[in-house]
Structure formats: structure tokens, C-alpha cells
């Protein structure tokens, strides 16, 4: 007791800082440090999976439909959980994702929405999250451009 009394000034300064640091380091409701590290799967495209390839993932899969009702991906008839994208950060939904032991597959009719939600969840430290898509070649250029060699730029 006398020790605490002796150190009360030090404790009063250090304890709040310690609590803040612990909260920041181990809390689950904010973003993790090092954005690059958490975004790496996106640069390597290892976070994108097609329906045919879902079989290669081990563990029970959780299909998350990010649309406001309906199924975003043709062929998904198994159990899926519908979480509209704007509600994905509700505590109960985050707990479902956190407590799920296996891959979580996000899908939406809008590829942009799945990509954005994936990045947010990933930056919050959630692992084993994938984007389920019909079009694995979404980032491949699909047209052909033929330069016109007769063209002269206008000045």
C-alpha cells in the first residue's frame, strides 16, 4: 500500500497511457498498424476466388452476401448470411466473422463493394477473407487496342 502511495504520481501518469496503448494494440474495433502488410493479398490477388475454386479452401466456408437481399453470385444456393455492406461493422456481424473457424467469402453484385469491404475488414486484422467472384479475370484487359499509325496529334 505504501508502495502505491509512494508512486502515485508515476502511476497516475503511466497507467492511463498503458491502458490506451493496450486498447490500441489489442482492440478489435479499429485498424491494425501497417496498412501495406494487411493489403498484400490484394496486390498478389490471392484474396480473389471463383466458385469453382472454393473447394480448394479448407475449413467450413461462410458465404457473406453483401447486397441488400438476394443472391449476388449465380449458383450459390447453400447457406449464406446476408449482411448489407453498410451494416458490416455492427458488433454482432463482426463477432460472427471473428468467431467463424474457416474462410469467409464475400460476394456482391457490385465487385467494387466486395473489394472495398474486403480491404476494410483486412485492415481491421481479419484474416482468411476472400472475394467470391464470377470473373477471376476482372483485372485483365479484355479488348484490343490497335494504334492508328497515320494519326498526327493536333497542336
Amino acid at each position: 500500500m505504501s508502495l502505491i502511495k509512494n508512486y502515485k504520481v508515476v502511476i497516475a501518469v503511466v497507467l492511463p497511457i498503458l491502458i490506451l496503448v493496450l486498447f490500441r494494440s489489442f482492440g478489435t474495433n479499429h485498424f491494425k498498424s501497417d496498412a501495406k502488410k494487411w493489403a498484400e493479398p490484394s496486390a498478389m490477388r490471392s484474396n480473389i476466388i471463383t466458385i469453382e475454386k472454393t473447394g480448394t479452401l479448407s475449413g467450413e466456408k461462410l458465404f457473406l452476401n453483401l447486397d441488400d437481399g438476394g443472391s449476388g453470385i449465380n449458383g450459390i444456393t447453400r447457406d449464406e448470411l446476408n449482411i448489407p455492406s453498410d451494416s458490416i461493422l455492427c458488433k454482432k456481424y463482426l463477432n460472427i466473422i471473428r468467431n467463424h473457424d474457416g474462410p469467409v467469402l464475400l460476394f456482391s453484385t457490385e465487385t467494387a463493394v466486395s473489394a472495398r469491404i474486403w480491404m476494410i475488414l483486412s485492415q481491421m486484422g481479419y484474416k482468411n477473407i476472400y472475394i467470391l467472384t464470377n470473373d477471376a479475370d476482372n483485372e485483365v484487359f479484355k479488348s484490343k487496342f490497335r494504334p492508328d499509325t497515320l494519326i498526327r496529334p493536333e497542336h
Binding site: N6, Y7, V9, V10, V13, V14, I17, L18, V21, L22, S25, N29, H30, F31, K32, S33, D34, A35, K36, K37, A39, E40, S42, A43, R45, I48, S85, D86, I88, L89, T111, A112, V113, A115, R116, W118, M119, I120, Q123, M124, I131, D135, D137, N138, E139, V140, F141, K142, S143, F145, P147, D148, T149, I151, P153, E154
Partner: protein, 203 residues
């Protein structure tokens, strides 16, 4: 206990706290998750290819189009007026060096929808404003702007304006991307110099 001892204990405790902090000095998201979610789900963060085409033909100086593809892809063709910043470069470097003007709208595009939308979340999460994506990427640009044609007997004024915009944007795209590589590089470089002069920067 004297003041020196108290000071020492205080320093040791702070050292312990510092040891708990992550070692990495890399950048991290510094906005609240709920705020980020509402910002990135805002429909206003999308520009259609037609809107981008309008910016391109008007050479709008309040817009900077950013191509996230590889330098090879960028050299083979790009949207006129765009600059090339690879997606992984955006992750490696501080985006503050190219997203620092609050008066400019930054529009990301890639071939499809993934990289541009990841980039939007990263830039917004790092607290940069005025970040947008071109919906559908270059694939959509080709489908809508480059391959557009009019079918039918009558054309409304609105359709006509749209068709005109697409035609002019297509012409600009063809002109710039049909230049030989040497001229294209010169053209890109002259654009950069012009932009620097506009900003009042030094060379």
C-alpha cells in the same frame, strides 16, 4: 522516495509501454472504421466512364486521373492526361506526395474494378480526401467510349451530346496512344512539366 527515483520508475514504465507499441513505422489507417465505411460506400465516390470522358476532353485542371496499372500497360495505352502510379507503389510509398492537393479530384482506374477500389479505401483510410474511382475501369471505358456507336433513327439532344463526348474522347485517346513510344514519352514528360509549372513548383 525521492524525485529522482520516481522519475526513473516513470521512465522505465514509459519504456515498457513503448516496447508494447508495434515496431513497424509503416503507415496505418487513421480514420474511424465506421466513418471510413460510410465514406467508401458513398455513391459519390464513383465516376462513370462518360463523366471521365467529359473531364478528359475539357482538360479539366481540377481532376487528376491516376492509372494504377503497370508501367508497360500504361505505356501501351492510357486515358489522356492520366499519370501512372502502380497499385503496389501506392502501398509502398507515401501517397501524400501525389494526393496532396485538396482542390483536385483524384480518380483511380485500373483494367477492372479491384485495384481502383482497393486504392480508394487505402487513400481514404489514410485520410486523403477527394478520392474517386472510374467505375468499370479501362474495360468499361472500351465498352462504352471506344466502341460506342449510334443505332436508331432519331437521336435526342442528350444522346447526341453523350455521343459527341464519347467521339471526342475516343479521338483524343486514339491520337495520344497512337504516337510512337518516343513521342509518347516526350508528350507525357511535357504534360508533367506543364503540371509542375501550373503548381508553381521548381525543377
Amino acid at each position: 522516495m525521492n524525485i529522482r527515483e520516481k522519475f526513473s520508475v516513470g521512465l522505465l514504465s514509459l519504456g515498457f509501454i513503448l516496447a508494447l507499441l508495434p515496431l513497424s513505422g509503416n503507415r496505418s489507417f487513421n480514420v474511424k472504421p465506421h466513418r471510413l465505411l460510410s465514406e467508401v460506400l458513398d455513391e459519390k465516390t464513383y465516376f462513370t466512364v462518360d463523366q471521365v470522358a467529359r473531364f478528359v476532353i475539357s482538360e479539366d485542371s481540377t481532376v487528376q486521373v491516376i492509372d494504377l496499372r503497370s508501367p508497360e500497360e500504361f505505356r501501351s495505352m492510357n486515358i489522356p492526361g492520366s499519370v501512372n502510379i502502380r497499385y503496389d507503389e501506392l502501398l509502398d510509398n507515401d501517397p501524400g506526395s501525389f494526393l496532396n492537393n485538396e482542390n483536385i479530384k483524384y480518380i483511380f482506374y485500373s483494367n477492372g474494378d479491384f485495384d481502383s477500389n482497393y486504392a480508394l479505401v487505402i487513400a481514404t483510410g489514410l485520410n486523403y480526401n477527394n478520392i474517386y474511382v472510374m467505375k468499370g475501369g479501362l474495360n468499361e471505358w472500351f465498352n462504352t467510349v471506344m466502341n460506342s456507336s449510334f443505332k436508331g433513327e432519331r437521336i435526342s439532344a442528350r444522346e447526341n451530346a453523350l455521343f459527341e463526348t464519347r467521339t471526342r474522347a475516343r479521338k483524343m485517346f486514339n491520337e495520344i496512344n497512337s504516337l510512337p513510344d518516343s513521342l509518347k514519352l516526350k508528350f507525357i514528360e511535357s504534360k508533367r512539366v506543364a503540371a509542375k509549372k501550373l503548381d508553381g513548383g521548381c525543377e
